[in-house]
């Protein structure tokens, strides 16, 4: 596994995979995919990093406390975005009713709060997948 070519290629490719994951998360409302699929891609980029460079380095990049915080606040972010509607006098999770401009259909801004909510869910999914991976790998040794 500790291969020179693998490491070089991974160093070039992994940032793009991670960015692509965020792209999929943010474009969930206009293209196939969404926060769950995108979150898995983001998580997989970190998992690939840990398998190629070793678990210890992966752990150093993403310590357990960071994972706990992203996991908690990814979900809390969903709640905060849901509250936006309530502060404007509309129901929970309101989007257009909360006075958000929905823009041109088919563009990124046309989802209103959806892509922002998706960001929270995606971060949560990514950190959960990474946590599961670390837990299972450490269970083995």
């Amino acid at each position: 596994m500790r291969d020179f070519i693998l490491k070089r290629v991974a160093a070039i490719i992994l940032p793009f995979i991670c960015t692509y994951g965020f792209y999929v998360i943010l474009h969930g409302h206009v293209s196939p995919g969404g926060s769950f699929a995108g979150g898995i891609i983001v998580g997989l980029s970190f998992i690939a990093f840990s398998t190629i460079y070793g678990i210890e380095k992966g752990r150093a990049r993403l310590p357990e406390t960071v994972l706990t915080w992203t996991e908690s606040f990814g979900t809390l972010w969903y709640g905060i975005m849901g509250m936006v509607g309530i502060t404007k006098g509309a129901p929970f999770l309101a989007n257009k009713l909360a006075g958000i401009d929905l823009g041109v259909p088919g563009t990124l801004s046309s989802g209103g709060l959806i892509s922002l909510i998706g960001l929270g869910v995606g971060i949560r999914v990514a950190s959960t997948i990474v946590t599961l991976f670390f837990t299972m790998m450490e269970e083995k040794s």
């Binding site: 706990t68 915080w69 996991e71 908690s72 606040f73 979900t75 809390l76 709640g79 849901g82 509607g85 309530i86 502060t87 006098g89 509309a90 129901p91 929970f92 999770l93 309101a94 989007n95 257009k96 009713l97």
Partner: protein
């Protein structure tokens, strides 16, 4: 500010526990803060449920409809706080607050390190949020999701104790419960395919129009639902997971699992049977006969199985199997009195069984002994705990002035109205059997020679929580007023539909 809160209360009672649950792991080092937050959220839930119930009572049963995201019904997801929703929210909050108080500072012995205790609280709040969601949801697919959240958190609560038997019980529970929820999902699928709606009201209207064209599909949907929820709520022949799961879990978890989690599934089944299929279909397909028969079998079999157990918590767990029988029996009585009795019995069993499990947990924690015969004379060493245990037992048996009596009384009235004689006899025999398996514990505790050991009542929060539950039992039994009204209104609403 207050207007915004009260207008959005139906969604707050569901999401507040969920979001607090997700934030808890970040405070894992500070146990006091975690416990304080949990108790605070539960107290808020009780206040919110009380407020919603008062509004529903004042509106004479007109439900509060909440549209998530502002989308109207066939497209969006609706929350509906009617009489049933308010009633079950009150039950949830009324039981989970004392249980959270009991768990305070008391879990490290059974569960382990601080991280594990925090995880226990996370699952506890998730279960609470899911149950609150079941109480208010009006959407079939939401029912499935909430049922799954509740199932997973229940399995987590069972496996919270660091013991191989707990892991084994949790695995059996997980497999059987997932089998059940797959069946439920299948039933929802058949309903969706035939009606094209996931909203309960629209689905029910559509079903009323077309059920005669394809009765087989409706039959399959009903049977999938019955077996699925039957597995989850431990109806007698499908109860195999329950005794292990409920007796190996930590005591607060046993209390919440036996007291509330099972009731959540029953409320879902009740909603699907009466709000979606409606009482005309139930009678047309003779589902009510099946329910009454299954209930009777469960009462007798569960009681006899409970009689044979010597381990205290296992006896209580088998007693739950028997008590679920009463609720199924009530589900099959298609009249106002029977359904009122069923709902009231559900609330009464929730309170009594959690009191019993918590008292049993306190006794086991103080003595380190599991079996009933070893607890001789404990009534004089731990007076408060044993008094609460006695109150819970009396309520479960159905002695007047305690809550169980009113539920059983209405169940008997409903049976007489429906012209069923055998179920009445079964209810009475069940009460006698219940006395036969609970009163020997009390006799052993009070009238047998005191062992020379240093057994003491638990700490102050535990005492408060036990006393709260005992007071709730007595209040429900002496002044059932608003609860009975909510229950009977909910029952009447089920029969008005269609």
């Amino acid at each position: 500010m207050t207007a915004a809160i009260t207008a959005n209360l139906p969604v707050f009672v569901v999401i507040a526990p969920l979001f607090v649950a997700f934030v808890l792991p970040t405070f894992a080092r500070r146990m006091r803060l975690v416990e304080g937050l949990v108790i605070f959220v539960e107290a808020l839930g009780l206040v919110g449920a009380g407020y919603l119930a008062s509004i529903v009572l004042a509106q004479k049963g007109i439900p509060i409809i909440y549209r998530l995201g502002g989308w109207p019904a066939p497209w969006g997801i609706e929350l509906e706080v009617g009489s049933l929703g308010a009633f079950f929210l009150l039950v949830i909050a009324g039981v989970s607050l004392p249980v959270a108080l009991f768990a305070r500072g008391n879990l490290t012995k059974e569960v382990g390190s601080k991280e594990r205790v925090t995880r226990f609280y996370v699952l506890y709040l998730l279960l609470n949020g899911a149950l609150a969601g079941m109480a208010v949801t009006n959407d079939l697919f939401n029912v499935f999701v909430l049922v799954e959240v509740a199932t997973l958190s229940c399995c987590g609560l069972v496996s919270a104790r660091n013991h191989p038997r707990a892991a084994e019980a949790a695995f059996t529970y997980l497999i059987l419960a997932t089998l059940g929820s797959t069946l439920v999902l299948g039933g929802i699928g058949f309903l969706y395919i035939t009606t094209g709606h996931l909203n309960m009201g629209f689905s029910s209207q559509e079903l009323g129009r077309i059920w005669q064209d394809n009765p087989h599909v409706v039959w399959v949907a009903i049977s999938f639902m019955l077996v699925g929820f039957g597995v989850k709520s431990a109806l007698f022949p499908l109860h195999l997971w329950l005794p292990d799961a409920h007796s190996t879990a930590p005591s607060p978890a046993s209390a919440i699992l036996s007291g509330l989690a099972i009731k959540g599934y029953l409320i879902c089944l009740l909603k699907i049977l009466y709000n979606v299929f409606g009482h005309t279909l139930i009678q047309a397909f003779a589902v009510h006969r099946i329910l009454v028969l299954a209930g009777m079998v469960a009462i007798i079999a569960g009681s006899i199985l409970a009689l044979t157990q010597d381990e205290l918590k296992r006896r209580l767990a088998f007693s739950t199997v028997a008590q679920v029988g009463y609720i199924y029996l009530g589900l099959g009585l298609v009249n106002t009195k029977g359904l009122t009795g069923m709902l009231f019995y559900l609330a009464s069993h929730a309170v009594s069984k959690s009191a019993l499990f918590l008292a049993a947990g306190a006794m086991i924690a103080a003595t380190g002994k599991q079996s009933i015969s070893e607890l001789a004379g404990i009534g004089r060493k731990m007076p408060i705990t044993m008094a609460v245990f006695t109150v819970g037992s009396l309520s479960l048996v159905g002695i007047p002035l305690f809550s169980g009596f009113i539920g059983k009384w209405y169940l008997i009235l409903g049976n007489l109205e429906a012209g069923n004689i055998i179920p009445v006899a079964v209810i009475i025999i069940g009460s006698v059997l219940c006395a036969a398996y609970l009163f020997p514990i009390i006799r052993t505790a009070y009238f047998e020679p005191v062992a020379d050991e240093d057994w003491q009542d638990p700490g102050l929060p535990q005492k408060i929580s036990l006393i709260l539950l005992a007071v709730a039992i007595v209040i429900l039994g002496v002044l059932p007023g608003p609860f009975l009204e909510l229950a009977s209104r909910a029952a009447a609403e089920f029969l008005v539909l269609q």
